[in-house]
Symmetry: C2
Subunit: 584 residues, 2 copies
Amino acid sequence: MGLLITSKHLDMLKQMAQMENNGKKLMSLLKKRGYIQPAFELYGGIAGLYDYGPLGGRLKSNVNKMWLNHWIALGNIVEIDSPTITPKEVLMASGHIGAFNDFASECKSCNSIFRSDHLLEEIHPNPDSLSQEDLFSEFENNLIKCPTCKSSKWSIPQPLNLMFSTTIGASKNGRTAYMRPETAQGMFLQFPTISRFFRGKLPFGAVQLGKGYRNEISPRQGIIRLREFNMAELEYFIDPKKSTSHNLEIWNDTLLKLIPDGSESKQKELETTIFDAVKNGIVKHETVGWFMIKTYELMIDLGLNPEFLRFRQHEKNEMAHYATDCWDLEIFGSYGWIECVGIAHRGSYDLEAHDKFINTNDLKIWRDFETEKVIEKTVCSPVQSVIGPKFKNYSKAISEKLLKIKNIPESFPFELEVGEETFLIQKEMVEIKDIKTVDRGEWFIPHVVEPAFGIDRIIWHILEHSYNEINKKDDENYTILSLNKKIAPLNFAVYPLYEKDGMKQKADSISQLLREVDGISVIYDGSKSIGRRYARGDEIGIPFAVTVDLQTIEDETITIRYRDSQEQERITVSELLDFATKIV
Amino acid sequence: MGLLITSKHLDMLKQMAQMENNGKKLMSLLKKRGYIQPAFELYGGIAGLYDYGPLGGRLKSNVNKMWLNHWIALGNIVEIDSPTITPKEVLMASGHIGAFNDFASECKSCNSIFRSDHLLEEIHPNPDSLSQEDLFSEFENNLIKCPTCKSSKWSIPQPLNLMFSTTIGASKNGRTAYMRPETAQGMFLQFPTISRFFRGKLPFGAVQLGKGYRNEISPRQGIIRLREFNMAELEYFIDPKKSTSHNLEIWNDTLLKLIPDGSESKQKELETTIFDAVKNGIVKHETVGWFMIKTYELMIDLGLNPEFLRFRQHEKNEMAHYATDCWDLEIFGSYGWIECVGIAHRGSYDLEAHDKFINTNDLKIWRDFETEKVIEKTVCSPVQSVIGPKFKNYSKAISEKLLKIKNIPESFPFELEVGEETFLIQKEMVEIKDIKTVDRGEWFIPHVVEPAFGIDRIIWHILEHSYNEINKKDDENYTILSLNKKIAPLNFAVYPLYEKDGMKQKADSISQLLREVDGISVIYDGSKSIGRRYARGDEIGIPFAVTVDLQTIEDETITIRYRDSQEQERITVSELLDFATKIV
């Protein structure tokens, strides 16, 4: 799993072993309680397609909301939404057709097809960085066995287009299209609108949340590798000639775990501040560093364990050819270290790719020169008083053509071609003179830094890092899902001590009052013992339990129980409502 | 447009004419300012695919959020999320393959293809309710001309499957799938999980927001008829044998415009309360009525004009065969009256369709009988002391078979077949006796009421109803987009009076303070005169403008200007921040 182990990691190792063990128990809990589950199970299920259930759906909404607010708060970021169906031409230009391919190996004995890199995972540290030939020789040299029939005869790995294709319009005259492999193209194609919105003043950015699609050959690992996944991408456009000024020192009390690209040598993990990492040139661009620390900040807000976060720099051969620096945020869980966010400096690649297809400056930004450039040149200036009467209707076209002559003729008369006609230009018709023009600025294609988030992977790790088993005297496997209260799908559970003597009605009416607080979700639960109900609430991560008893009816007080401390206190209903408004 | 005009509608008619005129101006404003625009315009555009831009993206998010909170607050509604890619088997069962078809007519002269109903819109009030034969005879009788070549020779209308198809997995052994035509199937397929979450206690419901797909033959009308659209559906499951108890009288001060199904006769609009409409049997089911008024409530919250809302009951031949009642919420705008929400009582159709494919009670709910049913029957009870020693290993199977015998044999011995063996049963081996069994309840498939919302259509009408032109002395076409402050994409604009003397820095720092309020979005604008900036803010619907001047630097007060009243007042920065926390 690539992590270097030192003595100080011993405690963490224990936690890791625990986590791998918990992963399976967690998945079963999540299915049973309605967080996540394989989709279409009534029809036998389909690999790589998952449902978010009654709890998971709301969790995902809350994670999306927190993600969005985090970036919108920067002030120069807008939210857009574009279609998932994308015409072929767009993906040809973006390089997704042809390049966005995994290699597949076919077993010559049984004709099973597998992702080539998956079969090499135990042999090679980074098999998805290998070329077609290198993949094949690894298969040959290591006598890789077919998981189906155990033979070792393999075809040469073939690139597979992993996009879902479809047709727009009635099939006779339909157009080929694909389900988008990423949300990023939406931001690039909307660049003209986004730029107009910001009046062309860089830096600015746009975000989009939504589905991405990848027709995986053999999806696995739960919601880590899906055929239809939830993405959240940000494209931040900058002027490559203007220096940025992010005050990275304000995060100087935060140490990040970084694994810089060691290329051929072994990768070494180091702990450093983002300020130092940029200053020392480990992170090559200040804006990349700024997004790394802002991403880290968000991950902590979402409730992830900082011990289990690290940034890994892409190796040179792993990085797209146009990218100048790329860092993955990896999160540790029961599947090992998993890439959950990619932060890439992509240069001007994406906008340039689309710019080739248009004739306007729509994908460019105007930059004033610091000092205007004065250009001197010699021109052949038409003398209108002569040319006008002589050439009449042709005089305008002739004048324009004369001004464009680059090599000033040395002798007169000379022939000038305009359209299909030829005219003889005499000495008195023109004046040879030196003029000055002023160049005030230029159009350029901005660069882009792209943080791209895999929301499903982040959600999985939030759930893993929130999963705790504690020992209680009467329950050895007491489970608490300690989700951050800002993203927990249910904010309150309301329990009548018993469903009698008016306690049910009182609990119902308190539930209703809580629900009137905008965005608060509340569950009422009246069945089984109060201890059982607390346990059920802790297991699904409800942060606050409200118990209604006979005293509530007398004096309008309830007991509030805090999931994480397992402590209780008695407060009034109006204090409770006030508390509720401060949660979301 | 189907609306009966009476004298009291005269004012409204003026507004309508104004609105049709405004529709075009609005669309141009929305494109220019970044609300909505045709997608893929850099590549020539694709009919039926639209982008939400820097303002529209946030507007859609806010509308979705308000929609979601409205239903979650009911307390027995959960949010789920399921894949958009749907395997063929699911859509075969749901009836979408075969039934979810529009008819297309092909011109025999030029081979152009058109939606049959679209070409009949000026001939027939409701052409999408016509059968294949009726469509064809309307074409014949009315000599409908081909819009392309003006010929009137038409093929018989053919049903077209309007789903986008794709393939899951490597194409050799791939599975046929479709992009979902609605989000509803996700809720039906997740019924087992949702039901478990609510411990099988009806009524309960689930919602899902997301993309739906429909491969329209000839999309048009802006974002009214899209190939990829934003949906929001709610499935509310009820026990058909339990009476509902919605207190509809609390809405007795709200008059709804209803157009009940008049079948062959002319449809008459009436104004009534929802309580009376249910009591008088116009709305056939109380839960349908309850969702109608809750939907109306939400539409008003979203800022739609109540004058331009009406409910139209489906005609019998327009309604799906299994539906028992169906009402569309229609909203009036520049395209006429447009169906934006459908509220349908669908009986048990959907769950039953999937139930045919499974052998469990997963799609059923257990209902206790009010009084237990005692069933008396005569059985052939095995005498174990005889059967055991005699038949040894077979005795268990024989005993079970004996208990199941329906026609008690009248004479002994008799032959009993168990599996492939035959055994001879003697009189002493059994005891003929009367027993009682108790039937405590039964499994049943719940009914469902489904409100289904077209989010794009609702957003379009929100924008239309918010669009106002007012006369100002210096600007004849002064435009105000009076979006409800809860959904406006930008909450605040912050303007320094001039970008000098510290006012820019002060405005920047106040913007940043506002942005720290969770969910608030703020734009800073420093260019052109303050009047021009107010106008730009009004035009894109920013509800609150904050102006920073020299006095701000002295005494920490700003001017807040309210878009709708166009009034201003001076308040402190801390009052401003307090105000901001109360908006979202």
